[in-house]
């Protein structure tokens, strides 16, 4: 049990679940901070994804994507629950996003202002070009960020409490007039 809790202390909490960190050697090489089996993502790309997730769900008076490590949840899901095509599109699209940023604002996405980031993402969303890699990346990153957020421990306990044991059913529950 002691060993287990020791491992637990090393875990990274992403939206409420623990994810295994990558080993120290990998980190020195600039690898991602969590253990990935299929995705080849380096620390820079991870940082970029964190800013994209944060652009979707920013910190306001409540925590946003970065504070909840939702970008790591996105990586975990893409790594485990998506097929090769999605994984390749995701990584390629992430690079393309960076190119779009360089082309448009002459700087990396992470150095863009909130407004500039918003413009880049809005353009991708409105382009709706499902065959494009950048759109493929965008869709996966956005869907998984939202999923991670709504299913995070923080949201499910503090903002929209999830009931494990409702103990009731009412099929004629009156809807409050707003």
């Amino acid at each position: 049990m002691q060993r287990r809790s020791a491992i637990k202390n090393l875990m990274i909490i992403a939206g409420g679940i623990a994810i295994l960190p990558s080993c120290a050697k990998d980190k020195e090489k600039g690898k991602a901070s969590i253990q990935l089996n299929n995705l080849n993502i380096d620390a820079e790309q991870e940082k970029l994804l964190a800013e994209v997730s944060e652009a979707f769900i920013p910190t306001t008076d409540t925590p946003g994507a970065k504070a909840l490590n939702l970008h790591l949840f996105v990586l975990k899901m893409v790594d485990d629950c998506h097929d090769k095509t999605d994984q390749e599109g995701f990584v390629a699209g992430l690079s393309e996003l960076e190119k779009l940023s360089e082309k448009r604002f002459d700087k990396s996405f992470v150095n863009c202002s909130v407004k500039e980031r918003g413009e880049i993402l809005k353009d991708i969303e409105n382009s709706k070009n499902p065959s494009g890699k950048v759109f493929q990346f965008y869709k996966i990153a956005k869907d998984r960020t939202i999923q991670g957020y709504l299913n995070s421990k923080y949201v499910m306990t503090e903002l929209i409490p999830y009931e494990l044991v409702p103990g009731r059913y009412n099929g004629y529950f009156p809807v409050k007039k707003s």
């Binding site: 939206g15 409420g16 679940i17 994810i19 652009a55 979707f56 769900i57 920013p58 306001t60 946003g64 975990k76 899901m77 485990d80 629950c81 998506h82 097929d83 909130v114 918003g118 993402l121 809005k122 969303e125 956005k142 939202i146 999923q147 991670g148 957020y149 709504l150 299913n151 995070s152 421990k153 949201v155 499910m156 903002l159 929209i160 999830y162 494990l164 044991v165 409702p166 103990g167 009731r168 059913y169 009412n170 099929g171 004629y172 529950f173 009156p174 809807v175």
Partner: protein, 572 residues
């Protein structure tokens, strides 16, 4: 319970009764036999699953699942059959067999969904429980298929009552002759849209009913349920994880602990039954040959009577594999019909719609019954369509929380945290009776074997023209009914599920009057080997449209009662 594993004397491997399988019917056999004082060995091929203790995910919150309930894609790809089951998710995957570990041969596409553990699929079932009526038992005789059932409703009605009281069935007294009322705990009322639909449909047709789904949930437990250690259902609807309250009926929460308390139960997990042993001199079965799945050691156990409850297709497999010079084609298989006339339920269509009305209501909490049930309304009193028999249907209405997911930033965040109620969604799925045919069969492969040396089962089961016509009729009729109710955006899906995905496979060792055309008599005894009883899905002569588990429970309790009387008066 496991203390007797290492002894090898014949005496210590001898019991009064052996039950093969610990699922919904095996659990009942165990309870009835042990209560009647018989020292009973229950053999389960999988691992032990203790109530509550072995439900690892039961109290987990959604955010505690590594993939939020989704299974990793490599798990999905490695288990194409299990993955087509609606309940195969991150919270319950440990209760399903892995495809690669338990191969079978699909001569035609057939999803064989299996749960190899103590409790079997009783941990995973959808808990819908309806009685059959004589409109079902008389089906084969009236419509000229299969063989006549050797029993009628009057033979089983009291046994339905008996098992219902113990299992705990929630339902309403609906007064329908083709879906007899039972011993009910309070039903779970229909919700606003289901109720509305019920009234509209009844007004229009007069003989089409929508009732509260009858289900094995403790809506209001009786003392007998508390005695089992079970408590009121808490409306979690996380049943596939195993219920810490024992809110729904399973072998693990109910029959097996009850049997254990008698002191007469020996439960042996990790035990594949290779065959039933037949003694030519005595003219009866003397025991079973077990393969320990861990050590692969072969061990024989002996008993006066044997109940085969291995699940429909595995019961076929092990009886076909039980050969002797008296029964070269499988135990009791003199007529060569064993493995044939396998049938299932036709789940090949579903339909959904929306309703803009009743905006003043939604639902609160969760309904463990799942909603409404539409009993069969086709060909009940007489033949009236161009297909035989009919279908029941599930019906559920619900409103979802919807969100504007467009854009990014503070506005998106705000939208995510402030969902709004969408319209009512209504969905219905068909559960059709299929016609057992000789051409739908299972058999043993002559060369390929599994890890334990058991021959692989070949499954050859397909839909037929009757099924397709029925499926079309379901879509036509439900479309009409939805239209009458003013529902919009009606969308039907057909041919989405292959046979077996209904998880209601039945037959192969059917009951009947005549040993020439059936394998079991009216007491579920093999005609040709009277101390072997089959009371799981394999015994079914026809399928009706009801969910079958309640009927297996009642047939099992009835057969045990008969068997023990026969033992006590020296007949067995």
């Amino acid at each position: 319970m496991m203390s007797n594993l290492n002894i090898d004397s014949v005496k210590q491997r001898t019991f009064d009764a052996i039950v093969i399988g610990s699922g919904i019917s095996g659990g009942w056999a165990a309870k009835e036999l042990t209560e009647k004082g018989l020292k009973t060995l229950v053999l389960e091929r999988g691992r032990d699953v203790k109530h509550v203790v072995d439900y690892p995910t039961t109290n987990m919150y959604p955010y505690e699942f590594e993939h939020r309930g989704e299974l990793p894609i490599d798990v999905q790809k490695a288990n194409p059959v299990a993955n087509r089951c609606y309940a195969f998710k991150e919270d319950s995957a440990h209760f399903f067999v892995k495809d690669a570990e338990h191969p079978y041969i699909q001569e035609n596409p057939f999803d064989w969904i299996r749960g190899y553990q103590v409790g079997g699929k009783s941990l995973l079932w959808a808990r819908q429980t309806q009685r059959w009526s004589d409109f079902d038992f008389e089906g084969p005789a009236r419509d000229g298929f299969a063989v006549d059932w050797p029993i009628r409703y009057k033979d089983i009605a009291l046994w339905y009552s008996y098992v219902e009281k113990f299992a705990g069935i929630a339902g309403d007294k609906d007064g329908l002759s083709h879906l007899p009322d039972g011993e009910f705990l309070p039903g779970y009322p229909l919700n606003a849209v289901e109720d509305y639909f019920k009234k509209k449909v009844l007004d229009k047709y007069g003989n089409r009913h929508i009732i509260s789904a009858r289900c094995a949930h403790l809506s209001k437990p009786e003392p007998v349920h508390h005695q089992q250690g079970r408590a009121q259902c808490q409306n979690r609807r996380l049943c596939q994880r195993g219920c810490p309250f024992g809110g729904y009926f399973s072998s693990n929460s109910s029959t097996l602990p009850w049997a254990e308390r008698t002191g007469n139960l020996t439960l042996r997990p990790f035990s594949v039954v290779e065959s039933v042993i037949y003694d030519e001199q005595k003219g009866k079965a003397t025991g079973v040959r077990v393969i320990d799945t861990n050590t692969k050691e072969v061990i024989e156990y002996y008993a006066k009577i044997i109940f085969v409850n291995a699940s429909a297709l595995n019961t076929n497999l092990l009886l076909l594999n039980s050969t002797s010079s008296r029964f070269p084609n499988g135990l009791g298989n003199d007529n060569g019909l064993m493995g044939k006339y396998v049938a299932f339920h036709n789940y090949s269509a579903r339909i959904s719609a929306e309703y803009e009305g009743l905006q003043e209501f939604t639902t609160d909490g969760r309904n463990p019954a799942g909603g409404g049930y539409i009993p069969r309304f086709r060909n009940v009193l007489k033949q009236e369509t161009d297909f035989l028999r009919g279908y029941a249907a599930g019906l559920s209405g619900f409103r979802t929380l919807e969100r504007d997911l467009s854009g990014q930033g503070p506005q998106l965040k705000e939208n995510l945290l402030n969902p709004f109620l969408g319209p009512w969604h209504i969905s219905s799925h068909m559960m059709g009776e299929t016609i057992p045919k000789e051409s739908n069969y299972v058999s043993l492969d002559s060369t390929q074997k599994d890890t334990w040396g058991m021959p692989l089962l070949k499954v050859s089961v397909v839909y037929d023209e009757n099924d397709h016509k029925m499926s079309k009729d379901f879509v036509d009729q439900l479309t009409e009914m939805f239209t009458i109710a003013g529902f919009s955006n009606i969308q039907a899906q057909t041919n989405t599920r292959v046979p077996g995905n209904d998880i209601h496979e039945m037959g192969g060792v059917r009951m009947g009057h005549d040993p020439k055309t059936s394998l079991l008599n009216k007491w579920n005894q093999l005609h040709a080997c009277k101390n072997v009883f089959v009371t799981d899905g394999a015994c079914m002569t026809s399928t009706a449209s009801q969910n079958p588990s309640l009927t297996y429970m009642a047939l099992t309790a009835r057969a045990v009662d008969y068997a023990v009387k026969q033992v006590n008066n020296g007949q067995l």
